[in-house]
């Protein structure tokens, strides 16, 4: 077991109730003794209030245009005029300011009321102390895992380097490699002997949910296992400046993945160049112009990004006409440390960041699109690779062969959860809600699978076999599923999930009869997964949808 001494230090700062009491200069009091049950209830409330207070404090600060509590007090001390002037200058809404401020005060009031009782405060502090210990163990475990990851990556990178340059490591390098390998073994041993108790596991799982929430908020992307594995594979090459190509269906998250890698792992905001068939050479290399009577060459955003060392994302690179693709060939072969010479200006630009490109797979659906020429494709393959990005969980099955969608469920669970990793379902309703959610995800997965097959194989005829349905234009993406979950959560889970799907997806996708057949097929899939069992055919608002067919799918005729 990790000894207490080796656990990370979690600072001993006063708890929220203690801080609130101090701010109010209030002391705890001995009042009539409470029963154990009463103390438990109050401590639970205090935990909830303390957690929510952090958010309320943040909201109050935002409403005041970023002023901290002491800054606000100082401003208020200068009088009403000063306050009004600040609100006006910063264009702040006084009504919102008041609402946020009074809400925060009410939080503090209730926290002070509960924690004013010494029995409650002591019990709260004890519980808080236990949580801190658990947190220390969880953090310690995570640190070991992270260190293991770093050591493995470093070892792989060095070995790869020697493979590429085709020589054996010298004595000093060998020593370094052995040291890395020893450290890895040491960490593995530490991990083996790390005693995980149920509370620490609970904390680790909750922290995972929270991290996913952070990533979704910050990057609109969640790093699940399969995506993590992919990143692990391409990252060493990307760090060397090698290009990568992500190919896949619409909505499979290719561009988002490239953006995420750039921001999270390369630490730089990328320049995104949306490629179209009409793209001009000047949009890639730049163009001549006049400035104060002088001819100047204005670099494109693409070249500027190269100069500034920012990664470039060429979105839908397959739309680029072949004659322009050649412009990129030289650049795609450069790596960090190389110099690229601009073909027009002759400026020498050192390479410091990679090019990432995305492409929709050539398909029946995208007939008008160019297929990426072999020469360009080869340059990606010679770089970090041309990788196929499928919808999450496609093809995954459990031991009995039933389709499962663990990664999608993981992301959607994080969307439904609050900041503590809990979903506001009672124990009684949870089972039915989980079931409902799983059926929804199952239906979405089926639609994505059939869509993938439709666009790759084309033609409805070839899809007639099995229970596959043809989807030509519309698919329900992970982003759509996330939006549906958000709306469900916002309804306080009062509305049935299928009525949210109807409102947030079907009614929003209702564009004068377009993709009507796709939407009809979707309904069929959802009904087969026991959603929309009692929805009236007309409520779907799909042109030409046969009420009789819907009732048959619902088993009513």
């Amino acid at each position: 077991m990790a000894s207490r001494e080796s656990l990370p230090h979690i600072p001993d700062i006063p708890t929220t109730p203690e801080r609130v009491l101090a701010e109010k200069s209030q002391e705890t009091r001995e009042s009539e003794p409470l029963t154990a049950e009463q103390i438990k209830e109050r401590v639970a409330e205090l935990f909830e209030l303390s957690g929510a207070r952090a958010e309320a404090g943040k909201h109050a600060r935002e409403a005041w245009g970023g002023l901290t509590k002491s800054e606000r007090e100082e401003l208020k001390g200068k009088g009403e005029e000063a306050v009004s002037a600040h609100l006006e200058a910063a264009r702040l809404d006084p009504e919102l300011v008041e609402f946020r401020e009074t809400t925060l005060e009410e939080y503090d009031g209730r926290i002070a009321e509960l924690s004013g009782n010494s029995q409650v405060l002591d019990a709260y502090k004890n519980r808080f102390g236990e949580l801190k210990d658990t947190l220390a163990r969880a953090v310690s475990y995570e640190h070991l895992r992270q260190e293991e990851d770093v050591v493995i990556k470093a070892e792989q990178k060095l070995r790869k380097l020697y493979e590429e340059i085709g020589r054996a490591p010298g004595p000093i390098e060998r020593k370094k490699l052995i040291a890395l390998s020893d450290r890895r073994k040491e960490i593995e041993e530490n991990l083996k002997s790390f005693e995980l108790d149920p509370k620490t596991i609970d904390m680790l799982r909750r922290r995972e949910v929270r991290r996913m929430q952070h990533d979704l908020e910050r990057y609109s992307f969640a790093e699940t296992e399969s995506r993590q594995e992919l990143i692990r594979q391409v990252l060493p090459d990307l760090l060397q400046g090698a290009p990568v190509l992500f190919q896949g269906e619409t909505g499979s998250g290719k561009s988002q993945l490239a953006k995420y890698i750039s921001e999270r792992y390369l630490g730089k905001t990328p320049t995104i160049v949306s490629v179209s068939e009409q793209i001009k050479e000047s949009q890639i290399m730049g163009s001549r112009g006049l400035e104060a009577g002088q001819t100047v060459f204005n670099y494109s955003e693409f070249v500027k990004a190269q100069k500034e060392g920012r990664p470039i994302i060429l979105d839908e690179v397959n739309l680029m006409p072949h004659e322009f693709a050649g412009l990129l060939h030289d650049l795609l072969q450069k790596r960090v440390g190389d110099v690229w010479v601009h073909p027009t200006t002759g400026e020498k630009i050192p390479i410091t960041a990679p090019i990432m490109a995305t492409a929709n797979l050539k398909s029946e659906r995208y007939k008008q699109r160019y297929e990426l020429d072999v020469a360009t494709l080869r340059r990606f393959i010679g770089g970090a690779g041309a990788r196929e990005i499928n919808y999450l969980d496609i093809g995954k099955k459990d031991k009995e062969g039933n389709p499962i969608a663990p990664e999608t469920l993981k992301i959607l669970s994080a969307v439904l959860a609050d900041r503590h990793g809990d979903i506001q379902w009672s124990e009684e309703e949870a089972m039915q809600k989980v079931e409902e959610m799983k059926r929804f995800v199952q239906a979405c997965r089926k639609i994505q699978e059939d869509f993938t097959l439709s666009v790759r194989e084309g033609g409805e005829e070839s899809l007639a076999r099995g229970d596959r349905l043809a989807f030509k234009e519309l698919v329900i993406t992970l982003k759509d599923q996330i939006e549906i979950m958000k709306a469900w959560k916002a309804s306080g889970f009062q509305e049935p999930l299928d009525s949210i799907v109807l409102r947030e997806f079907f009614h929003k996708a209702e564009i004068s009869g377009r993709a009507a057949k796709d939407r009809e097929n979707m309904i069929k899939v959802f009904i087969a997964n026991k959603l929309f069992q009692n929805t009236k055919p007309e409520d779907f608002k799909i042109q030409g949808l046969s009420p009789k067919a819907v009732r048959q799918w619902q088993g009513k005729e």
Partner: protein, 267 residues
């Protein structure tokens, strides 16, 4: 109590985090396998309990037939989880279960929903009224049509370990005296009081009918199980008398006594 989000997907990551005990067990099993030894399994999984209780085990298959609706993989998983929770919570051992079997207990899986009467009908929650709607096995009575208890649904999927017939000591005792007997019974069986209780009317009806459908045998044929639930006039509801006229639902004042009115302890 809110629901932990990770519970939605943790079944797909069984090896991600293991408690030290789980790790030790896994290592020991791997070691035993290497040595060519067959691991001795914990004696309380479904199959063994089924073997132990024989006809008095109403598990997944029986309940699927009884309710007319197959359990989803998620429900099956929860059933397993709840069983483990129950044996852990109550400290049940193989020996303890053997003793309960000897004393006339059965193990029954209760679920929250029934298939409709006809195929096209919607699923419905398990209530006395819905059970009566689905199975023509109730005595013809209408006094409880407007009673709240008749619409009270089972609380969702869970296991019951319940005595099939009345505990003899509870016969001819009033309701409060029976409560005391239950406490004594709990103590004698080394189980905390809170785990020994009376059933609700819906639970009695469900258990009796499920047993009948699965085994074609009537329980509580001549006796009534006095429940924890009151009818609108303040009396306590009792369910039983499941003879050829059908299952009857009645009520009695807490001071009442009858040799046919007792309690089937439930855990």
């Amino acid at each position: 109590m809110p629901f932990e989000a990770y519970k939605i997907y943790q079944e797909y990551e069984p090896d991600k985090y293991k408690t030290s005990t789980q790790e030790k067990v896994a290592r020991a099993l791997a070691e035993a396998k290497k040595e060519g030894l067959e691991p001795v399994k914990e004696a309380l999984d479904f199959n063994e309990v089924r073997e132990l209780f024989e006809n008095d085990f109403i598990g997944i298959e029986e309940v699927e037939k009884f309710t007319g609706r197959p359990l989803t993989p998620e429900e099956k998983r929860i059933a397993e989880e709840k069983w483990q929770k129950k044996i852990e919570e109550q400290g049940l051992t193989k020996e303890g279960l053997e003793q309960l079997k000897q004393e006339g207990f059965m193990v029954v899986l209760r679920v929250g929903a029934l298939a409709g009467k006809e195929k096209k009908d919607k699923e419905m929650p398990v209530t006395i009224k819905n059970l009566r709607k689905k199975f023509p096995l109730f005595y013809n009575q209408d006094w409880y049509n407007n009673e709240q208890f008749a619409d009270e649904a089972l609380g969702g999927l869970d296991w019951g370990i319940v005595k099939k017939e009345l505990l003899d000591e509870t016969r001819s005792k009033n309701w409060d005296e029976q409560q005391e007997i239950l406490k004594t019974w709990a103590e004698a069986h080394g189980v905390p009081e809170k785990f020994v209780r009376r059933r609700t009317p819906t639970e009695v009806a469900y258990d009796v009918l499920a047993y009948f459908q699965a085994r074609n045998q009537r329980i509580l044929e001549k006796d009534w199980d006095w429940t924890s639930v009151q009818s609108s006039d303040g009396k306590f509801v009792n369910v039983g008398g499941f003879d050829s006229d059908g299952l009857s639902v009645s009520s009695a004042a807490r001071v009442a006594r009858s040799s046919h009115l007792g309690v089937c302890p439930a855990r």
